[in-house]
Amino acid sequence: MNITRRIIVLSLLVLAGTASPVWAQAKSELTIALSSFSAETVDPALQGHNVKYYLSLMFDYLVGVTPDGQPSQQGGLASKWENSADHKRWTFHLRKGVKFHDGTEMTSDDVKFSLQRAMSKRSTTGYAGPLRTLIADIETPAPDRLVIVTKEPTLIIPTYLSRSLSTEGMVLPKKYIEANGDDAFARKPVGTGPYKFVEQVVGSHIKMTAVDSHWRIGVPKYKNVTFKLVPEETTRIALLRRGEVDVADVSRERVKELEKDGFPVHMRKEEALIHVWWILGPDGRTPPTNDKRVREALNLAIDRNEIAQSIFGGYAEPAAIPMGLSWSFKDVGFKVTPDLAYAYDPARAKKLLADAGLAGGFTQDVYAFQLPGFAEGKAFAEAIAGYWEKIGVKSRLIPVDYPAFRKQWVDRKAPGAVGYYNVANRDWIGAYAFLEKQGYTPSKLNDTVNDPEVDGMLSQVLRQTDRDKINALMRNVYTRLRSEHHGVPVVFVHSPYAASKTLGKWNPGSVMYDLFLDELARR
């Protein structure tokens, strides 16, 4: 064997040695490959709900929820809670003996500190604003008791501080943060969750290791959990095939291929509503979409079943209520009856346009962009533009990235132009919080509706303490949004997560931005 051949053979042996598939190792590791980590901060006060999937392993919430989003006295640091008769004092009873990863015991001081931190001006969490408005005081009568005093009677406090919403309910260690500072905490966070922080390389991965025993999970099944950031889907799937990752988010179009190859694909059913709206002008809606008939016509022009099949590979269901999030429907007793569904009826759409004096159609701008979890964004924009073209509405597609569109939207610089979003599905309180920003005139910045009747009903929800009346208000809001066609609800998409063949049973649940990966760690 000459020297060149020897070198080649040796090189191949070295590579084979270093490249052996990970599935050969003992499976005490759980590795999750995701296309986006959102902001990649590990400090709950510095990001909102879209980083919950990794933070939920490191931190416990004050109020726990079941994977289907129901408040649970078993799942959070509060073992029970009650409200005063006037609904202005909420008392939370905390578990005793729960320890942070640094060994200190969790008390009501930590909960108070965490909540104040989540409401601070520095906080960028999803619902810091409403909590600032609502909370008057936080009392700590005992280490295992916390009282939240609100300015107005309300029902929403437990839900706002639960795992079903954002990160405001995550409990952080007061002493550790005060001793080490916010920056140190953001680099090496400490919580009470089943996994403790090991390492974060921004743009690459977040590693955690199991605590010896956790009050909720017991001894975690996996010694280490790693979240890998892998933007390219082909790479995520290759990693899955090689056994280097156990869970990967995949696009809807690759589901059948993966299932055929024996990889279980877990669906988060109706995870997001693909919702289209028109940007408002400084004084509200502008012609021609200030005419209800035009808005209805644009709804009727779209074949939702075809979009569900052709753009989303059949993993989507037609939607009927503008801004209506289906996980909230059951909470408030709202039923989408067949007459509420938008039929695909281009002839009637044309007639409505003619009735509105637009028989010759009109021109509108459609912003085309992709979003995390919505890789089909641009194809979707092209599809709806195509449907509208058929009824004489010419759509100028403007390819941008989302921040550029959002600037147009919140600055109201492109009135009447069309945008869209994959709005994460959520329970009734989350749906209310979403409507309160995007469908409520006083919120100004994000409003897309500008309807005094909707404003009136939404303004009552927060102050209402009778759950039946809240449900009725929410139902009426949905009915009004539908009857006025305040947007174009297109489909609810299912989000697929492919798993390794050895992962076993996993219920990714139906809670906004939470994959309940900690349930996999339960033995």
């Binding site: 901060t41 969490t125 953001a186 680099r187 921004v202 082909t234 090689r242 921040p403 919120s443």
Partner: protein, 306 residues
């Protein structure tokens, strides 16, 4: 020589100063980072709070002066998206990019050298044509496509090599090859044409007449003289490999400078964008300066001709 180096250094500093203004202005012209870090339901008050906390409410001139003042001490501020000092992110990423570029360059040299020499020695034969095909493919196949094909087949289907990450030697192979192939093409062509010129020179003919073995004529006498432009090319390309591997780093989930730049741009993370552009520019300027100095040492006419 010292005057020459100082003059080129001054030129580089002026270029960096201009670049700092351009990148500062352009980064802000593309959008507002708060649209990315704040939730969709953020209120005007949330925006105002975040803007004040991040110092984005200050006048642009003040922001620029603060950025430049700190940058000269190596402090590039804090990432708006990751909320960590940018210098820490650079310290994590730059070594990965350097290592990948070094590996890719080694791959390029290992392929381009024998190919270039063989193509010149066997000009017009099948070997030459095969080498030309390798060169053409290297320069014409889109890097993104090559990367995806390698991931899909070599890693996903055949499962020979890791598809992503930077764990161990094996993880360098696919991104290194993808990145290096483009360079192979240029280097191979340069070496081939250099070798053809040298092989036709008088001193090579003399060596042959004197009975020196053909292998020694080609690999020692001729190659040594054909190497000068290739070494220059390799030096400049190394800097380019470090700084332009966005596509390769994205496909192979490689935590390098390119990915940092891409994430910074998509999230309007001004401090990160500014830092990556400046570091890249410093790297390129340093390599260019070194190449200029080497040239000036080799050929004194360059020193006097400036």
């Amino acid at each position: 020589m010292v005057r020459f180096v100082l003059f080129r250094l001054l030129q580089s500093l002026i270029a960096l100063a201009i670049l700092s203004v351009v990148v500062f202005v352009l980064a802000r012209a593309t959008g507002d980072p708060l649209h990315m870090i704040l939730p969709m339901n953020a209120s005007a008050e949330d925006y105002a709070n975040a803007r004040a906390y991040l110092g984005l409410d200050r006048p642009y001139l003040q922001q620029y002066l603060s950025f430049v003042g700190r940058a000269v001490t190596g402090d590039f501020g804090t990432s708006i998206r990751a909320r960590r000092p940018v210098i820490e992110l650079l310290q994590e990423r730059l070594p990965n990019s350097l290592k990948l570029a070094a590996f890719a360059m080694a791959v390029s040299l290992a392929i381009a050298f024998p190919l270039g020499v063989m193509a010149a020695v066997h000009k017009g034969t099948g070997v030459d044509r095969a080498a030309q095909i390798v060169a053409v493919l290297g320069q014409s196949l889109p890097t993104f496509w090559v990367a995806i094909v390698l991931v899909e087949f070599v890693s996903g289907r055949l499962q020979w090599l890791p598809a992503g990450g930077a764990d161990g030697l094996a993880s360098y192979v696919l991104p290194g090859f993808t990145l290096g192939w483009f360079v192979v093409a240029g280097m191979m062509r340069l070496l081939r044409s250099g070798m053809l010129e040298v092989l036709d020179s008088e001193y090579v003919k003399l060596a042959r007449l004197k009975g020196v073995a053909e292998r020694r004529v080609v690999w020692v006498h001729a190659l040594k003289n054909a190497l000068i432009p290739v070494v220059t090319f390799a030096g400049i390309y190394f800097a380019i490999l470090v700084t332009t591997a966005i596509v390769v780093e994205t496909v192979f989930a490689w935590p390098g400078l390119g990915r940092l730049a891409y994430d910074g741009i998509t999230s309007r993370d001004f401090p990160v964008i500014q830092a990556v552009v400046l570091v890249t520019a410093i790297l390129v300027a340093a390599v260019n300066l070194c190449v200029d100095c080497v040239y000036a040492l080799i050929d004194p006419r360059i020193r006097y001709a400036r």
